[in-house]
């Protein structure tokens, strides 16, 4: 599809870009959670573990 107007071209590219941004943030969160899922839990208050 040919774009004659730069503004219209940008509307197209930026719309895709915003969707990508949403995917980045969610994807990163999931990726991080996956990577740290087997880390040792940090127990700062051992007395709370008694429950």
């Amino acid at each position: 599809m040919e774009y004659y107007v730069y503004q219209d071209f940008m509307l197209h590219t930026k719309s895709i870009t915003y969707i990508l941004m949403g995917l980045f943030v969610l994807g990163f969160w999931g990726f991080w959670a996956f990577m740290t899922s087997r880390d040792e839990e940090i127990h700062k208050f051992p007395e709370h573990d008694k429950e």
Partner: protein, 354 residues
């Protein structure tokens, strides 16, 4: 890792195929506007300030009647601008040879600032060259008014709930519907100061007029390049700034100007989580190491204290043992001495009789 890399490449290829259907790449392609887009050429040397264009516009767009009739030319003594009931005004200026007049209206930019900044995409640059406004989505933020370098869009401020932005439409709707063959202002002009046609043709006409009468015209077509180029073009006998057209706007359009900062936005979304996550992880590691070092230090200190205590105890025990042995020795010695003394006493007493 090979399988993952392969899948990753497949995925990337798939996405590129879907999204990369346009051949236009911003870095190499140049955007020339719709071919055949129309515009208007205003020739200042022909305008007599009769205001018939204003009347024509008012009629064709069914705008409310003005406070003073269009035939009243005394309004030209005040510099006016477009407002929510007026898509176009003619202003009077001081020209080289007496009064000069210029018609002001939306310039229908090739890369419109209003379209660039509207956050709800209420402005469209149409293939026919016009820039039109969609009141059914407008939120009324008025950023278009802020951004327009020509100060054209006007707002219905007195409407409490359904205010609209008002500006010239190049009679887009009327022409599309066939009610008009050209904008109402062009049709009404008695002196052919306004010419409607393809932008490319208008540029040619303008260049021809200037080259045929170089003494009559400023050697410049206003709107050819200003703000990235406009579909409303001006040629003039007087310097453009003298007829109210700013000469300091430059040739970069607002979409171009804004393109840089706009491009940084997704970089923040892409990079910040990684950077911040990294900082957090480094900090956690530091805390963990510090905690372990502290634990080790406490342990070592305890062990040292314990060792010291045990050493002290051992020494004390040793001393106690020694003291005990010495005491025993002393007692034994004393006992022996006492026994010795007793023996002696007994010997002294009964020693002669044995």
């Amino acid at each position: 890792m090979k399988r993952r890399q392969f899948l990753g490449l497949l995925g990337a290829a798939g996405i590129t195929a879907t999204l990369g259907t346009t051949k236009a790449q911003a870095s190499t392609h140049s955007f020339e506007g719709y071919p055949g887009a129309k515009g208007v050429l205003f020739d200042e040397t022909r305008c007599i300030g009769c205001r018939k264009c204003e009347a024509g516009c008012n009629k064709v767009n069914k705008l409310p009647a003005p406070a003073k009739p269009f035939a009243d030319l005394t309004v030209l003594n005040q510099e006016r601008r477009t407002d929510e009931k007026t898509y176009t005004v003619v202003n009077k200026y001081r020209g080289k040879n007496g009064p000069a007049f210029r018609k002001m209206q939306c310039n229908h930019c090739m890369e419109p600032a209003c379209a660039s900044v509207c956050f709800v995409h209420a402005f469209t640059k149409n293939p026919d060259g016009s820039v039109t406004y969609d009141p059914t989505v407008c939120v009324g933020c008025r950023y278009c008014m802020v951004a327009c370098p020509f100060n054209i869009p006007a707002y219905e401020y007195s409407d409490p709930l359904t205010p609209r932005v008002m500006k010239c439409t190049l009679c887009h709707d009327q022409i599309q519907k066939g009610e008009q063959t050209m904008p109402g202002c062009v049709e009404a002009c008695p002196k052919e100061a306004l010419t409607y046609g393809k932008r490319d043709d208008l540029l040619q006409i303008a260049r021809a007029r200037i080259s045929q009468h170089p003494e009559r015209y400023e050697n410049h077509i206003y709107g050819e390049k200003e703000m990235g180029g406009t579909n409303w073009l001006y040629i003039s006998g007087d310097p453009f700034k003298d007829i109210g057209l700013r000469e300091d706007l430059g040739s970069k359009s607002v979409p171009e100007i804004v393109s840089g900062p706009l491009s940084v936005v997704p970089m923040v979304a892409a990079l910040w989580p990684a950077l911040l996550g990294g900082v957090w992880a480094i900090n956690k590691r530091k805390e963990k190491v510090a905690a372990e070092e502290q634990k080790a230090a406490v342990k070592a200190a305890r062990a040292a204290a314990k060792a010291e205590g045990e050493a002290k105890l051992a020494k004390a025990m040793e001393n106690a043992e020694r003291d005990k042995n010495q005491a025993i020795e002393r007692e034994v010695k004393r006992a022996l001495e006492e026994a010795e003394a007793a023996k002696k006493d007994a010997g002294d007493d009964g020693g002669e009789g044995a």
